[in-house]
Point group: C2
Chain length 111, copies 2
């Protein structure tokens, strides 16, 4: 590990966004507040990792967690202002993906 001459804020920001599943989860939450099982269904992530990532994102102040003590318990996740501010990042990722990404026919995921 070496040091970097890059702006520390930018470096940390990029590292946060480079963590696996983080951007896909934020992308999903941009469609509105939703509960655990909804996110789990929308993204090919396991419950174990989703739980871990949501905890990380709450820690980072990107996601808000609200508990409704019904039965069974209902927990709704939503984006904070910091999370909502990621909308432009994700919009540009979508633009780039649609213009440049090609699906390699050899890497079918059995849909």
């Amino acid at each position: 590990m070496k040091q970097s001459s890059l702006c520390p804020l930018v470096e940390k920001g990029i590292q946060v966004l480079s963590k696996r599943w983080t951007v896909l989860i934020v992308h999903q939450l941009l469609s509105g507040p939703q509960r655990f099982c909804t996110i789990e269904t929308a993204i090919p992530i396991s419950g174990r990792l989703l739980s871990e990532r949501l905890k990380d994102l709450e820690q980072e102040g990107i996601v808000h967690r609200e508990v409704y003590p019904e039965t069974p318990v209902r927990i709704v996740y939503s984006l904070t202002d910091k999370g909502l501010a990621l909308a432009p990042v994700i919009r540009e990722m979508e633009n780039w993906s649609r213009e440049w990404v090609k699906i390699d026919p050899d890497e079918h995921e059995t849909l």
Copy 2:
């Protein structure tokens, strides 16, 4: 693993960009074509991983690799058009980082 209702191009694009070190390497190459050791010095990544990632990025058509058979050998990496097209993504990441990211005083890397 479950399937996703998300656009497959966007999902794949986000997955590519979410791979560790990828965005930082592209960010670094946006400042111009440069050789292996320059990137290695600018980013806190090990040579082993940098070599692996550059191979991935060349495979994805994001990075171009040019060999100058001098002594010792000089190899210059640069962004392709597909790689250059990531500039808006990275610009928005920088904007977000500078506005929202705070450095936790407990996580000093000994500079």
